[in-house]
């Protein structure tokens, strides 16, 4: 009988051909391509939840047909074989690459059966509640319960994309275990260092042992080698009280980014072997696929539970939960969800985008209690449509909520405000939104020019006659040289902004300020003394302005010696901002920009 996700002990080092359908859960499947397939297949499949799951390949159908499903003859049937298939199909694919051991049915599987069997009759109360609170995660919840249920269980790895309910499913499943186990939880994301991790785990264990340890502050181990014995001691203490301990490492993928994270990951994954405490169950939760952790050999491999992304209908179901007016919200989702789902599939992101949209949607309605009929729906949709377009564009970037005043404007202004938002996005608003002194503006412009133009053209662009002369010369040059220059310019664009030394920046600054000095003097013709000296003195504190620009991330500076000042700079601003700045000092920037 093909028990799909029976826990087994497998070691990667052992070599043997898979001979049973219940071969090790290698789950080497790359979920993503399949998801893509699924996505491609989705439109033509009817949208009932089970069917929009991965399209069963012929082979899978065979398997599914062949595998008699022991429990749950009802709706989960379809998801069940799917999950079994997922575990087996890749195994066959992975045969040449990593032959795995024949499954030695664990001796403890006999332990395991009874609670599972006990599941069957009591399917209604605890399990039903569990499944109820995990929409779209039926299969995973069952797997989890099965894998975790008896205390002496193998390590489990939950993996799947962000916001697919891994942690939630795990915590809920653990809550359903009897007797209530001791949970030691390490949220690796909120722990800044390995030391903090060790401290957190040991503190939780010591708290469990409150009677004996008197919570005297013990030294936190610095090194993993010190941590393991300390952990074993602490665990042994708890276990000796007759409790089962579930040690959960959430967001395991974060550890890889830590200093020496690779070693720590392999240590954490080997803990089962290192500790050798049967009452301790290790659970790993990760948004990275298990492949990411196949660095060690010879240790027990955790059982995998895969959490696929939600489908549209599952998302629909999740979002519908707890809505005060389901009919209204459902009609809203019917309009909005499909287009947004093309942009993102993460429930949390969708929820964040949908919330303000729903508020907009309800605006024309007086109360939220009514049930909208067809005409009202159409009207609501028309009201919503412009906002929806904005939301679709903004899901990629950050939805920044406008200020209070803007909100008020938006409510009263309706469509106008949307248009204005568009204007802001497209950079049509020509005003510079913040204050900068004139000399800082010129310096920023010169930095932009220095980064943008090739240094060889400085002489041509900034000579006494201006840019026009050089352009004439360019026209006379041969076709070949023009082509060469074209490719050069293209390369320049591809490379992004270039770096430049301080001298070049100051030289360009001097040039462009001397050009615009006349204009400024015209404006200030009354105060000749001040106008003249003011502009001349622009140079004097230019280095101060430089540091201002660096501080506000407009320029970045590399490698510098305070005495030599030989660092190179690069301007980080885009052309839009540069044009805005130029406009604010009425400087003809485009005249100085090198274009092909």
């Amino acid at each position: 009988m093909s028990q799909p996700v029976t826990p087994r002990r497998t070691t990667r080092a052992s070599t043997s051909a898979p001979d049973s359908p219940s071969s090790p859960p290698k789950s080497r499947s790359k979920p993503s391509p399949r998801r893509q397939l699924l996505a491609a297949a989705a439109p033509d499949s009817p949208s009932s939840p089970p069917k929009s799951r991965p399209k069963p390949s012929p082979r899978r159908q065979l398997l599914a047909a062949a595998a008699p499903v022991p429990d749950s003859p009802s709706s989960p049937t379809k998801s069940r074989p799917k999950s079994s298939h997922k575990r087996q199909l890749p195994t066959a694919a992975a045969v040449p690459e990593s032959p795995s051991s024949p499954t030695k049915p664990r001796p403890k599987s006999s332990h395991k059966r009874p609670p599972h069997a006990a599941d069957e009759p009591t399917d209604d109360n605890p399990l039903a509640a569990l499944l109820e609170s995990l929409p779209g995660r039926r299969a995973q919840a069952r797997d989890l319960l099965r894998l975790l249920a008896p205390a002496p269980a193998l390590p489990v790895l939950l993996h799947g994309g962000a916001a697919t309910g891994k942690t939630r499913a795990l915590l809920l499943a653990l809550r359903h275990l009897r007797p209530t186990p001791r949970l030691v939880y390490a949220a690796l994301r909120s722990l800044p260092s390995p030391r903090a991790l060790f401290a957190s785990i040991l503190a939780q264990l010591r708290a469990a042992l409150s009677s004996s340890s008197t919570s005297s502050r013990q030294r936190v181990p610095d090194k993993p080698s010190d941590f393991v014995p300390a952990l074993r001691d602490a665990l042994a203490g708890v276990v000796s009280q007759g409790e089962n301990v579930y040690l959960v490492f959430d967001n395991l993928e974060v550890v890889r980014g830590w200093d020496k994270g690779g070693q720590l990951v392999s240590l954490l994954l080997r803990l089962h072997d290192l500790l050798r405490l049967p009452q301790v169950v290790l659970v790993y939760v990760s948004s990275a696929a298990p492949d990411a952790y196949y660095t060690m050999t010879g240790s027990v491999e955790p059982n995998h539970v895969y959490f696929p992304d939600y489908t549209v209908d599952e998302v629909h179901g999740i979002l519908m939960r707890g809505q005060p007016n389901p009919k209204l919200y459902s009609s809203f989702l019917g309009v909005v969800l499909k287009p947004l789902f093309r942009v993102t599939r993460r429930v949390d992101e969708l929820a964040a985008v949908l919330e303000p949209l729903f508020r907009r949607y309800c605006e024309p309605l007086g109360s939220l209690n009514g049930v909208p009929d067809e005409a009202i729906r159409r009207r609501l949709f028309e009201h919503l449509q412009p906002h929806l377009t904005v939301a679709l564009n903004e899901t990629f970037s950050v939805p920044i909520r406008a200020s209070l005043d803007d909100c008020k404007d938006g409510i009263s202004g309706g469509k106008g405000s949307v248009k204005r938002q568009f204007g802001g996005r497209d950079g049509l608003s020509s005003e510079l939104e913040f204050h900068m002194s004139v000399s800082a503006k010129y310096l920023l412009l010169s930095a932009f020019l220095a980064s943008r133009n090739p240094a060889t053209l400085d002489a041509a662009l900034f000579d006494a006659t201006g840019g026009t002369d050089s352009r004439n010369r360019k026209r006379k040059s041969s076709q070949a040289s023009i082509d060469r220059k074209d490719t050069m310019a293209e390369e320049l664009l591809m490379k992004g902004p270039g770096t430049f030394p301080l001298e070049r920046l100051l030289a360009i600054f001097q040039c462009i300020t001397s050009v615009s000095e006349d204009m400024l003097d015209e404006v200030e013709c009354e105060d000749t003394i001040m106008g003249g000296s003011g502009m001349n003195a622009l140079m004097s504190d230019v280095l101060l302005q430089l540091s201002t620009l660096c501080n506000s991330n407009f320029l970045s500076k590399s490698r510098s010696c305070p005495l030599e000042g030989s660092g190179r700079y690069r301007s980080n601003i885009d052309e839009d901002l540069a044009l805005k700045v130029a406009r604010s000092v009425s400087f003809p920037l485009s005249k100085y920009m090198y274009r092909r």
């Binding site: 942690t167 920044i400 204050h435 003195a537 504190d541 005495l563």
Partner: protein
């Protein structure tokens, strides 16, 4: 008599800093040290508010000297009182501007907190458990207020954010500040957390961890308030670390209500560029905007300069300089205030009669002035009437024989001036005229002389002021613009403007009456007309209908402008309250340190006035400081200096001290060496040479040799 005493401290003020640089360098070097030091002691310190400059004529009798000291004390007191008045006004104005923003932030905090708590209100036990709460909240986000400071320069906002923190804290929020140094890659997230805990908890655990914060938060006294993290300069933070911090705190956001307040100097693109999209998704942003720097500037100018709050004012030149400095160079309120303080301190230190300013702060100013004037020695009384403003021929307002009356009149005229300027600004505001601009025009003394010709005004009327290019129009561009604004103002706005005018003109009865009259005619007649003309406004109201009233208002404004807008520099005795010396400010604010250092190095003899060097005249003497010698020698080269040549000439000068006649032998190194051996060892000279070169490098006058050309140094500063 005033002239020399005014001049002496000014030159000292110009040069005090470079002088000290030189002094320090000279200390270890030559025999001129003690003399130099004595000289330094003699030179008055201009940074102190009351230099001893008027004390210069030392041969006066002791009584006089006692008087001098007394008046010095008085001036010092006057400065302190005046400046503290100005300072408190500034603080008040800025607080008033900021308070609006602070209240907005506070409201946002309270709203967010109630939203968070309405979702779930975890009990302490739940908060302290290490694993996340199981809620139906799909999306966990950290409420974040982005405060746009609207100024690329950050100096002003440091105090603003400090005040904001205080404001929030006094309203019961838990507050922590993270600076950009803490949010740098060097310290990482662990450093941030530690700093957070240190600011909130009294007992910081060994290992920084959010759970410690959670258990602290569970205590009863901490529980019902949100935790605000203020990051005042987002742009300077490391995006990675901040992103990580955001992700870390997200795990806890339902349990502990932590909100961010982030200051952004530039645009909202800054967080987008800085943070990863994953971290950005965890923020629930809200944008708040500070008043722009020019708004604050306008408010400050209005409170300090237009309404003379402490009797101290500035001349047109100074005003224009400050304006240009603000817009072109620095753009911070901080530097504007410091410039103003500098001007104030200079004024009280230089102007002998300036202590009379204090009178404006007294209850009964005339009495104060009379007392002071009677107590004044003869010389000073004479000095008062000898002020240029009193002796001027073409003055329209003749000074009386009485200083007290003169000062009272001055004050009165100043008050009128400020009322009229306020009226003008109130009108011009609707035409986007900045107060600073119109202030600079109103304070221009040339305006007064020019204005007598009515033709120009007529011109501007005809062409509606759109000829700023014309030379005559440029002088009063903004005034004309303000008048035009009134001329073409819609009725409703004019009502409001008139109402404000009547407030501004409260002290001036005749104007107030006229304004009232205008107001009454408006209310009775035009109100109806407006309603009637509402629909045909485009054709009728602006072209014909509005003419009478708008024209009347314009006439009135024009009239009072001509009558009462008398710039302070045209009034007698204005020197007592008005600071005019723009040069001092200029050198203090703009400065040109590198040039000053070079100049002082080149002309050190003239500063030190030592006997050994002055004899030689132009020639470089060996008794000069090494760096000074080197700098003088460097003048002979172009933009690169050959080290070998330079060293040889240096060597020549040093060794020439005891062999006066050998100066011509500088060029021949072999002879030099044999000569030099007994006086100064070769190694010593090399060491001195190296030190001098390094000092020149440190002062920024030259750059060390590059790898490509190891024997050449590059000059950075040129010119004498």
């Amino acid at each position: 008599m005033t002239e020399p005493s005014r001049e002496a401290p000014l030159t000292a003020a110009h040069n005090i800093e470079p002088f000290f640089v030189l002094h320090k360098a000279a200390a270890g070097a030559s025999l001129t040290t003690s003399r130099a030091r004595r000289r330094v002691d003699k030179i008055p310190q201009p940074s102190s508010p009351s230099p001893k400059s008027p004390k210069r004529p030392r041969d006066e009798d002791g009584d006089d000297e006692g008087d001098m000291e007394l008046y010095e004390q008085l001036r010092l007191e006057a400065f302190h009182r005046t400046w503290s008045k100005i300072q408190s006004t500034i603080n008040e104005v800025l607080r008033g501007i900021n308070l609006k923003l602070f209240d907005q932030v506070l409201r946002w905090v309270q709203e967010s907190f109630s939203t968070v708590r309405s979702v779930i209100r975890p009990c302490p036990a739940e908060i302290q458990q290490p694993y996340p709460l199981l809620t139906d909240v799909i999306c966990r986000k950290i409420p974040t207020a982005f405060v746009l400071t609207k100024n690329a320069e950050f100096v002003d906002d440091v105090t603003t954010f400090r005040d904001l923190s205080d404001h929030l804290e006094s309203n019961g929020c838990h507050l922590a500040k993270l600076s950009s140094t803490e949010l740098s890659a060097k310290y990482g997230v662990a450093g941030c957390l530690k700093s957070l805990l240190r600011q909130l908890l009294s007992d910081v655990p060994d290992v920084a961890d959010v759970s410690a914060l959670a258990s602290w938060y569970c205590r009863a006294k901490n529980y019902d308030q949100p935790i605000i993290i203020v990051i005042d300069d987002l742009e300077q933070c490391s995006g990675d670390v901040l992103g990580e911090l955001v992700m870390t705190l997200t795990e806890w956001v339902i349990k502990i209500p932590i909100f961010f307040v982030m200051g952004i100097a530039t645009t909202l693109d800054a967080p987008r560029k800085l943070l990863s999209s994953e971290a950005l998704q965890q923020l629930d942003p809200c944008q708040l905007t500070m008043g722009s720097p020019s708004d604050r500037m306008n408010a400050l100018v209005e409170a300090i300069l237009v309404k003379p709050c402490a009797g101290f004012c500035i001349s047109h030149e100074v005003a224009v300089f400050l304006k240009n400095y603000f817009f072109r160079h620095d753009g911070t309120i901080t530097s504007f205030i410091s410039a103003l303080k500098l001007a104030c301190s200079k004024h009280f230190s230089v102007e002998p009669l300036s202590f009379l300013c204090m009178g404006t702060l007294e209850e009964d100013c005339e009495n104060f002035w009379r007392d002071k004037f009677d107590a004044m020695p003869e010389a000073m009384q004479k000095q008062a009437f000898g002020l240029p403003s009193c002796t001027r021929e073409n003055n329209s307002i003749k000074p009386g024989n009485n200083l007290v009356e003169g000062l009272s009149a001055l004050m009165k005229l100043q008050r009128d001036w400020s009322s009229v300027l306020s009226c003008l600004y109130e009108a011009g505001r609707h035409g986007k005229v900045q107060l600073l601009d119109i202030f600079c025009e109103a304070i221009n003394p040339d305006l007064r002389t020019k204005k007598d010709s009515n033709i120009e005004l007529l011109m501007s009327k005809v062409t509606s002021g759109n000829l700023p290019s014309g030379n005559s129009g440029a002088g009063r561009r903004f005034l004309a613009q303000a008048l035009d604004t009134v001329r073409y103002m819609p009725m409703e706005t004019l009502f409001r403007v008139l109402k404000v005018w009547s407030i501004h003109s409260e002290g001036m009865n005749e104007i107030n009456d006229k304004v009232k009259e205008l107001q009454s005619t408006t209310t009775s007649a035009d109100c109806m007309r407006i309603t009637k003309d509402k629909w045909t406004r485009s054709t009728n109201s602006t072209a014909n209908g509005a003419v009478p009233l708008n024209e009347k208002a314009t006439m009135l404004l024009d009239d009072i402008t001509r009558k009462f807008l008398v710039p302070v520099e045209c009034l007698p005795f204005h020197e007592i309250i008005c600071f005019k010396n723009v040069g001092v400010l200029q050198s203090a604010l703009i400065g040109n340190p590198r040039r000053m250092v070079q100049l002082d190095l080149l002309k050190s003899q003239s500063r030190l006035k030592c006997s050994c060097c002055s004899r030689n005249g132009i020639a470089v003497s060996a008794s000069l400081h090494d760096t000074s010698i080197m700098c003088n020698l460097a003048q002979e080269y172009g933009d690169v200096i050959n080290l070998q040549d330079w060293y040889l000439s240096f060597d020549g000068i040093i060794n020439n001290t005891n062999s006066k006649g050998k100066r011509k032998l500088i060029g021949s190194p072999s002879k030099k060496k044999s000569k030099a051996a007994p006086q100064e060892s070769e190694a010593m000279i090399q060491a001195r040479f190296c030190r001098a070169v390094t000092e020149l490098q440190i002062t920024g006058l030259l750059r060390m040799p590059s790898k490509r050309r190891p024997d050449l140094v590059q000059r950075v500063a040129f010119g004498p």
